[in-house]
């Protein structure tokens, strides 16, 4: 009998399904433009060996050659094809962007839900640290952490995701605090549902909307952060072509070769823009209030 009650309560978990998600996104021109652009970059990144016209590291072409039919985006100071380098660069940017946010999301939600759900001592410990980190911009924290861990792909990913944890933890915690007051939580508790199950089945699904929006905007911020770190020489190692690194290398030549300064940045901007467009459409669709928190780079 008891088991039955629990089950039916579980089924009643009010997961908010808004009708016509795809339809509503399709009506939003920004969302469509964002989705198309992002799909383009993602396909290029995944299929880089097939799509790129040349080996990104081969130095067999004219040095600092301006854009031609053979090299649509020109060549760099070492005679490498810029288009091929940018296509391979998309791999690092997108991978770092999604991987860091994935890690920060999981860790941040765990911290935030634990803090909000248990309250008291656990809440205090977690939130003191989160508040401390909150006082600083994410990019600066990532710089501090790379200073400690050193450079390289995995260190950069860990540094950026740690830098983003506080955003997710705060949003998750405040959602949990609101949801905790709801009657269906009391009902589930009365029915003897375990804490872990309440969090997983009842709290989390209802806290998802703002977290999804935050995650989307965070991907674009993480991509910007990685590009910034690479640009400063604190990113992935120097042999991997990343957009930030390509821009940094081009700095000495930009007075003679505008294409070296223009295209890598354009790649970063279009990627970030496409994600921001999607994030904005999601925010409208899921009706999440803009707080400025998500815009924190």
């Amino acid at each position: 009998m008891t088991a039955q009650v629990t089950d039916s309560l579980d089924d009643a978990a009010p997961v908010i399904r808004r009708p016509g998600f795809i339809a509503s996104m399709k009506r939003d021109k920004k969302a469509v433009a964002g989705a198309v652009l992002l799909a383009l970059f993602t396909v290029a990144a995944i299929a880089a060996p097939l799509v790129a016209p040349y080996d990104p590291n081969s130095m067999e072409f004219d040095m600092i050659g301006s854009p031609t039919w053979g090299h649509p985006l020109g060549t760099d100071d070492l005679g490498r094809d810029l288009l091929s380098r940018l296509i391979y660069g998309a791999q690092v940017s997108l991978f770092v962007g999604f991987a860091t946010v994935g890690l920060a999301l999981v860790a941040g939600i765990a911290l935030g839900v634990a803090a909000g759900f248990y309250g008291g001592f656990i809440d205090n410990i977690i939130m003191r640290y989160i508040d401390l980190q909150w006082a600083f911009p994410n990019f600066i924290i990532a710089v501090y952490l790379v200073a400690v861990f050193g450079t390289g792909l995995s260190n950069v990913i860990v540094a950026i995701s740690l830098a983003f944890i506080d955003d997710f933890a705060r949003v998750a915690r405040s959602m949990v605090l609101t949801i905790k007051q709801e009657q269906y939580i009391d009902a589930a508790r009365t029915a003897g549902t375990s804490n872990a199950r309440i969090m997983w089945r009842h709290v989390l699904p209802n806290a998802l909307a703002p977290l999804i929006v935050l995650a989307t905007v965070s991907v674009s911020n993480a991509i910007l952060a990685e590009a910034g770190l690479s640009f400063l020489g604190l990113g992935v190692d120097a042999s991997t072509p990343t957009w930030g690194l390509i821009l940094a290398e081009s700095r000495s030549f930009i007075s003679r070769a505008w294409w070296l300064g223009l295209f890598p940045g354009l790649a970063i901007m279009l990627t970030v823009l496409s994600i921001n467009f999607l994030g904005d459409a999601l925010r409208d669709h899921l009706d999440v209030r803009e707080t400025g928190e998500a815009d924190r780079a």
């Binding site: 200073a147 910034g228 930009i254 007075s255 505008w258 279009l270 970030v272 921001n276 815009d295």
Partner: protein
């Protein structure tokens, strides 16, 4: 209010202590010994021991920690271990005014453009003008600041030759010279900041215009501009000021990168060069000072928030 201020000041001190402690222990947990790396050049291990003693690194860690805290309180941030062994406080004292003038200029330019842009956007909601402002704001948010810096250099320094491509000139060398060096980095840093402020002004102005007191003012037949400037705008500014704290932090973060593009030896460049040179005393000092600026600006924004909104009373 003074009680609130006192509590906040105490809180800020605790944050700074926590940062100092974290930085101290994290930098010591790093694998790899900077002193060994330096002595690699000379190949003399005795010299490395000598240097460790000179820098007090042969003491137990907790002794080092308390010595370090004591020194920091006295304003002594140690000595650079790279190059000519300059005191870190000297390096920071030199770089501090550069970063401050850069961020203040960026702030001024950004706010001057963003607030009117956001207001116009809100007043002419869904017009071509509004869409234009929104699109430009999206571009501003999506553009890496260091790339904008490069584009500005390509156009105004390398192309047109109007502005110096790199370097810094103090205000004492004349306003024009100062401005010509800082205008490009300031625009590069200020653009994402301006984008956030413009969007914030727009959305908060739209909220306020929907409220009852504005409806009442309208029905009393007050003039449109009077209502906007006297009633709507000040109230719309309140949420903007909270975001200002976040956005100020963004300006500082931007300075860290963009100073490196323009070879301005501000705090950001000092920090990054310190990291690249593994000059730990400099990194430690720069992190402390940059963190101090954040903590202080958060404090100022909170106090300002309380001062500007009479509805908020702190006990």
């Amino acid at each position: 209010m003074s009680k609130y201020l006192l509590r906040r000041l105490l809180g800020a001190t605790v944050v700074m202590w926590a940062v100092a402690t974290l930085v101290f222990f994290m930098l010591r947990a790093v694998p790899g010994d900077p002193f060994l790396a330096m002595v690699f050049d000379t190949g003399d291990p005795a010299a490395a021991d000598e240097m460790r003693r000179a820098f007090g690194l042969d003491d137990p860690v907790y002794v080092q920690y308390f010595k370090y805290l004591l020194q920091v309180i006295q304003g002594n941030l140690g000595t650079s271990i790279y190059g000519s062994r300059v005191p870190v406080s000297t390096i920071i004292a030199e770089s501090f005014p550069r970063t401050i003038s850069l961020t203040v200029l960026a702030f001024t330019i950004a706010v001057t453009i963003a607030i009117p842009a956001g207001l116009i956007s809100a007043l002419y909601k869904y017009s071509a003008l509004d869409h234009g402002v929104t699109f430009v704001a999206f571009l501003g948010l999506s553009m890496p600041d260091f790339w904008l810096a490069i584009l500005l250099i390509i156009t105004f320094a390398a192309g047109l030759g109007w502005l110096p491509a790199i370097g810094y000139a103090p205000l004492s060398s004349g306003f024009g010279t100062w401005l010509s060096h800082l205008i490009m980095p300031a625009i590069a840093i200020g653009t994402p900041f301006a984008a956030i402020i413009a969007r914030m002004v727009r959305s908060s102005m739209l909220e306020v215009l929907k409220t009852e007191y504005i409806q009442v003012a309208r029905s009393k037949g007050l003039m449109r501009w009077y209502i906007l400037l006297q009633h709507a705008f000040p109230n719309a500014l309140i949420p903007v000021i909270t975001v200002m704290g976040i956005a100020l932090a963004l300006l500082m973060a931007g300075a860290v990168v963009v100073e490196n593009v323009f070879a301005i030896k501000g705090l950001g460049r000092v920090l990054i060069q310190g990291i690249l040179n593994r000059d730990y005393p400099v990194v430690q000092g720069a992190i402390l000072v940059v963190s101090g600026i954040f903590v202080l600006s958060n404090l100022v924004v909170d106090v300002l928030y309380a001062a500007i909104d009479p509805r908020i009373r702190y006990e």
